[in-house]
């Protein structure tokens, strides 16, 4: 869930080279015997909410990942496989039949049934409940009837119970990658005990959420302090290797980092920027980097005359030395990007931007002058996210390589930047970041570049692109869908509405008391793998 959350203040983040990733991700340097009776301590920020359909930031979804077991998870190739589901099938990509595994129970003893999923999803989609993740259900038939101030219906017409363990989901339009969506936090079930009346959540449910996952709550959510969970012995899936987890709440990552250094905390999920350069020395092989889903880019207001020519945009892209910036500014904690989708999803190709992604100052300048690019460029960013350094560096490169005047312009917060962009004020180029909602190429393309995309702030509109996305969504198989999406991505490379700059990575660290620390693509520590050392 925390998908898309490049919260400004944690932003600088991530990551080193993909090459390191493969071998580094296990943090398997730990030796010593595993202690199944010990609990581990993991850093989080104060969650905003702990109701599955209301949780879309990393900290909340980390806690919920302990308490709930998802329908699907993702394998090495980023393809979904069933976890709490027995099978998820569809003939036509429109009606999906979800069959649940038998034997799952909620922590209060209730048996998990199809109705638990239907009730939870209906609650999440119903607009008056104001759930943060309600948009995850927008593909399901009947979603529109649940919107507005006084919706026409209270339940999604697309959800039908077949028997105790089976239900069908009818989508408004065919979507070939629906199964990939189901791994997200919003699709967890809720027990009957969570509802005081149909469609009404028990007050205080989120203080001690009842789930069907490998851990159950130990006490209640202690705001600003911690959330503690312990192993749920009746969990039928893969049992975790620790007795419990204490999610300890930090407001500043530097405090958490100091605690990891002195073994007072076991896992810090993001090494603070100021400690990145010393983390290798401080932690040794306990400083680990793994791929993350974030993509950072500079967007063009294509509706503005001076940026409407794709050649201008390409020239700017060619004038930026991505390697130099990731190395000197980010200390290799991020990777240069030359594609519109992240390596975190199936269908990623390394260099889809093509020639426009190659650093070539001479060609860039010639192209820029031929296309009549503006003599002054502004780069807008939010001043609270640590972006100043790389924006200034980029500006200096543009000055030197294109012979233009370039200034960085800071807005106080990302919200202020968005307000101006939405009002089509001339902010010049502006920075954006994207984290996926679910591992699918479509999630990197649809919201950002389709004509009606929810985050298409640059006025980009290409009917061919929209058509290819629609064809991909209704493609009979995932492979064919990916082909369509790749064609769509090639169109983006021709038009270049944004300049992809960097891929993020997880930079995390752990204490000497744990081993097998892994992080998934959603920025969550894998709680079934982590082990405590005796």
């Amino acid at each position: 869930m925390r998908v898309r959350r490049l919260a400004a203040w944690t932003a600088l983040p991530l990551a080193v080279t993909l090459g390191l990733v493969a071998c580094g991700s296990g943090g398997d340097g730990g030796s010593g015997e595993s202690d199944p009776n010990a609990a581990v301590r993991i850093e989080i920020a104060e969650p905003q909410h702990l109701v599955p359909t209301n949780t879309n930031e990393t900290s909340g979804s980390q806690v919920l990942a302990a308490l709930f077991s998802p329908l699907v998870d993702y394998d090495e190739a980023h393809k979904p496989y069933e976890v709490a589901a027995e099978s998820i099938t569809s003939e036509d990509n429109t009606t999906w039949t979800i069959k649940l595994k038998d034997g799952y129970t909620f922590h209060n003893g209730e048996k998990v049934t199809a109705d638990n999923y239907i009730d939870a999803w209906n609650y999440g989609a119903y607009a008056p409940n104001g759930q943060n993740s309600s948009y995850f259900f927008e593909k399901i038939a009947g979603y529109d009837d649940l919107q507005g101030e006084s919706p026409k219906a209270e339940t999604l017409s697309g959800l039908k119970q077949v028997d105790d363990l089976t239900f069908t989901v009818t989508l408004a339009q065919p979507y070939s990658e629906f199964k990939s969506m189901l791994g997200y936090t919003a699709f967890y079930p809720l027990p009957e005990a969570a509802f005081s009346a149909p469609g009404e959540l028990v007050e205080g449910y989120e203080q001690a959420p009842i789930g069907q996952g490998p851990f159950k709550m130990k006490g209640t959510w202690q705001h600003d302090a911690k959330v503690e969970v312990e192993r749920y012995d009746a969990f039928p899936g893969e049992q975790p290797k620790v007795a419990g987890v204490e999610f300890r709440i930090y407001q500043q990552l530097t405090a958490a980092y100091a605690d990891v250094l002195s073994d007072n905390l076991d896992v810090i999920k993001t090494i603070p920027t100021e400690n990145l350069s010393t983390a290798g020395t401080d932690l040794g092989d306990r400083f680990v980097q793994s791929p993350a889903s974030s993509l950072h880019f500079l967007a063009f207001p294509t509706f503005q005359e001076e940026f409407s020519n794709p050649d201008v945009r390409k020239a700017i892209s060619m004038a930026i030395d991505r390697e130099e910036i990731t190395r000197s500014i980010f200390k290799d904690s991020q990777q240069p990007a030359r594609a519109f989708v992240s390596p975190a999803v199936a269908g990623y190709r390394e260099n889809t931007v093509g020639a426009a992604g190659e650093f070539d100052p001479a060609k860039a300048k010639a192209l820029y002058q031929a296309a009549g690019g503006p003599s002054k460029i502004t780069l807008s960013y939010n001043g609270d996210g640590g972006h100043k350094d790389w924006i200034d560096a980029t500006c200096n490169q543009l000055k030197a390589n294109l012979g233009v005047d370039c200034v960085g312009s800071a807005e106080p917060k990302f919200a202020d930047l968005l307000t101006k962009v939405k009002a089509k004020q001339p902010v010049g180029l502006f920075r954006m970041g994207w984290i996926m909602d679910y591992p699918s190429m479509e999630n990197y393309l649809g919201p950002l570049y389709s004509t009606n995309g929810s985050s298409n702030y640059y006025g980009y509109s290409n009917p061919d692109f929209d058509r290819l996305l629609a064809e991909g969504a209704s493609a009979p198989s995932e492979e064919e869908a990916i082909k369509k999406y790749q064609e769509a991505e090639d169109l983006l490379a021709e038009d270049l509405p944004v300049v992809p700059l960097r891929f993020g990575q997880n930079n995390f660290g752990h204490s000497t008391k744990v081993k097998n620390v892994e992080m998934d693509l959603f920025d969550r520590v894998n709680l079934t793998k982590i082990e405590a050392i005796k």
Partner: protein, 312 residues
């Protein structure tokens, strides 16, 4: 004295409403899009936006909207309801959880400032121009010159991580020992100022006529210093410490962040970052009360310390 206190209490009521009005107006004016700020860089759905807008009357803008929201807030406040933060938590609960730890931290800081600052100040004042006096001058200048934002992480790194004398962070429910390091860091600035003030004041009073009189009466030196000199020298120090109590509670933003103490400063920082108007105004309102009360206590203490001061 009684009439003085009653008058001051009535003034406090006015001051309280005045400051909440100003703080509320500032938050109101500075508020861009709190819903987007809450979501970070994620897009906000229309449903979520409509829900929060209605719940917090965010559509009431302009002068009319401001007074509508301000009076709504004040009328709830008078009923003892501080409202809800944008994440739906009761601000009363947040404050109830945050205050005890912040007060403990501030008390430790004040104790550090008084015990070490005043004692060393008196010694330095008595032995003016001695090695001790010069050493404290140098040391306090150094402490005054280092901002907390540097001092706190340094103390944490050396005393917490490297030598492991203290736990590096205190956490939500710290014992006295865990709060000691943050308390010393927080109190060090007040300590330095209190020391300088005491030293000057003592040095000056030692040359006063009444001290010479006391000495010529044959009073023992210890009594001259502890009763005659110290009592009169404490007035500026008390004034300073009174204001400092408020500063320590609101100014603990950096210290509480570095040592991960979920107190008032910690919550204030979060409130400002997420443009959470109700939370910021709630915390500041309580801080205003703390300032007002500590100033009143200071004024009353004047009368106790200096019999020449009388309140009508």
């Amino acid at each position: 004295m009684f009439r003085f206190i009653v008058r001051r209490l009535l003034q406090m009521v006015l001051a309280f409403f005045g400051t909440t009005l100003i703080v509320y107006a500032l938050m109101f004016a500075g508020q861009g899009d709190p819903i987007q700020a809450l979501a970070g860089e994620r897009p906000v759905t229309a449903a979520q936006r409509a829900y929060l807008t209605e719940k917090y009357h965010l559509d009431a803008t302009g002068i009319g909207g401001f007074f509508y929201r301000y009076f709504d807030y004040i009328s709830n406040l008078l009923r003892g309801d501080l409202g809800e933060s944008l994440t739906g938590r009761s601000i009363g609960d947040i404050l109830a959880a945050a205050w005890p730890v912040t007060i403990r931290l501030a008390l430790i800081a004040i104790a550090v400032a008084v015990i070490f600052g005043v004692t060393a100040g008196v010694l330095a004042g008595i032995r003016r121009a001695s090695i001790f006096d010069n050493a404290t001058l140098l040391l306090t200048l150094l402490v005054l010159g280092i901002p907390t934002i540097v001092l706190a992480p340094l103390a944490q790194y050396f005393l917490g991580v490297k030598w492991q004398v203290f736990p590096p962070t205190a956490g939500a429910d710290p014992d006295f020992f865990a709060l000691l390091l943050p308390g010393i860091v927080l109190g060090s600035l007040s300590l330095a100022t209190a020391l300088r003030l005491t030293r000057t004041s003592v040095a000056e009073n030692l040359r006063a006529d009444y001290v010479r009189t006391a000495r010529s009466k044959g009073l023992p030196n210890r009594r001259v210093v502890s009763v005659h000199v110290l009592r009169n020298s404490l007035i500026p120090v008390i004034t300073f410490l009174g204001v400092e109590v408020g500063n320590l509670m609101s100014g603990a933003i950096i210290t509480e962040g570095v040592f991960n103490i979920p107190g008032v400063g910690f919550n204030l920082f979060r409130g400002i970052r997420t443009e959470d108007g109700p939370l910021v105004v709630g915390i500041v309102s309580v801080l205003v009360v703390v300032y007002l009360v500590s100033n009143l206590v200071v004024d009353v203490l004047y009368a106790v310390l200096d019999p020449r001061i009388r309140y009508e």
